[in-house]
């Protein structure tokens, strides 16, 4: 039996077209898409691996410098710790030689967008000027960040109480009104 080459050529040509268009081309597209997915997953894996390697590295560094970071924890505690704060004001004012007559929580803002909340205390203190300076300096040196928003004082006795130049800054007793701001989460 002799092969009818022109007819066979036509049929082969048609088969090439049909197989190519309906089978091989879609398979090729599927192959490309799967290949791309694989590359993406591989890239994801590498990125995630590198990310956690960095996290682990930073974590180790934090552990090595735990003392430094605990200062930040003190400065920005996870909760307002109002009891601790009032204890601090009481002990520090006493240490500085002042009498804490009144302590009021003026503001406790709710934290927004994970930003630190503001805590404002109003303090009424009684004592001399040097003690007040000691108290302010102790607050400024404290690991916790205190900002004195406002301070006012007046002499309890206008004749005796006065603050003058180079000599000693205080000659009497004053009533100090302070607004102190600090932060927590």
């Amino acid at each position: 039996m002799r092969l009818d080459k022109p007819l066979a050529t036509g049929i082969i040509f048609l088969l090439i077209f049909l197989i190519g268009f309906f089978f091989v081309l879609p398979k090729y597209k599927q192959f490309k898409s799967v290949q791309l997915s694989f590359e993406e997953i591989k890239a994801d894996f590498n990125a995630k691996y590198e990310y956690y390697a960095n996290i682990s590295d930073i974590y180790q560094k934090i552990q090595e410098r735990k003392d430094d970071f605990s200062k930040i924890d003190d400065a920005l505690p996870d909760s307002p710790n109002l009891g601790k704060l009032s204890y601090y004001f009481q002990t520090e004012s006493k240490k500085s030689g002042l009498l804490l007559k009144d302590l009021t929580l003026s503001k406790l803002s709710s934290k927004e967008n994970n930003a630190p909340a503001e805590i404002v205390f109003s303090l009424n203190l009684f004592g001399d000027y040097s003690s007040m300076m000691n108290f302010m300096i102790s607050m400024e040196k404290s690991a916790k960040l205190f900002d004195v928003i406002s301070i006012s004082f007046k002499s309890s006795d206008s004749q005796l109480g006065a603050v003058s130049g180079d000599k000693l800054k205080s000659k009497g007793m004053f009533d100090f009104m302070l607004q102190v701001k600090t932060n927590s989460y």
Partner: protein, 197 residues
Amino acid sequence: MDFLIFYKLLKNNRYWWFDIVFYFLVAFLIALVLSYGIFWIRIVSYQKAINQQIAVLDTVGTEQQKAQEKEVLSYIQKVNDFAGLLQNHRFSSNVFQLIQDKTMPYIWFNQFALDQKNNSVQLFGEADNVENLSRQVVNLEGSDYVEKINLLNSRLGLLGKVAFNINIQFKPNIFDYIATATTPVDSTNNQNSEQGQ
């Protein structure tokens, strides 16, 4: 177009190039079928690899690593917040130090109000005479940290002393941290003190 003419022409005559075309097309068909098979095998192998990779991917973020991540991210936020707070942290004692340094003899203050938000201080006091009060005001105005004095009231008292109140507007840098102890370094201090005496 009548394809039958081409068909008869090709069937009745043996063209040498037609064999080449025929075998090329046969080879091409075989290659096409093979490539389909190859694509199929590769797809299956890629899908296996993807499944393996997904399984491996799940092992990267372990519970321990996630706990570390949580702690690290919390510290990063804390450090950023702390840096922001530290940048805005203000040292109010600098104002007192400056006023102490700038206050001349025979001037007494008995009332003081600091408004940190507006960088201003209101002072009430007494001077032994008007000249000393004027020197005091000049002395304060000469400070590098004083922006201006925007209120000055004085009243002569019964014993010849002058009661006054002044409002000092400070430059914002008065509240910045000053490394040299708690006393603000003021270049004009000595000069003005000498002037005052």
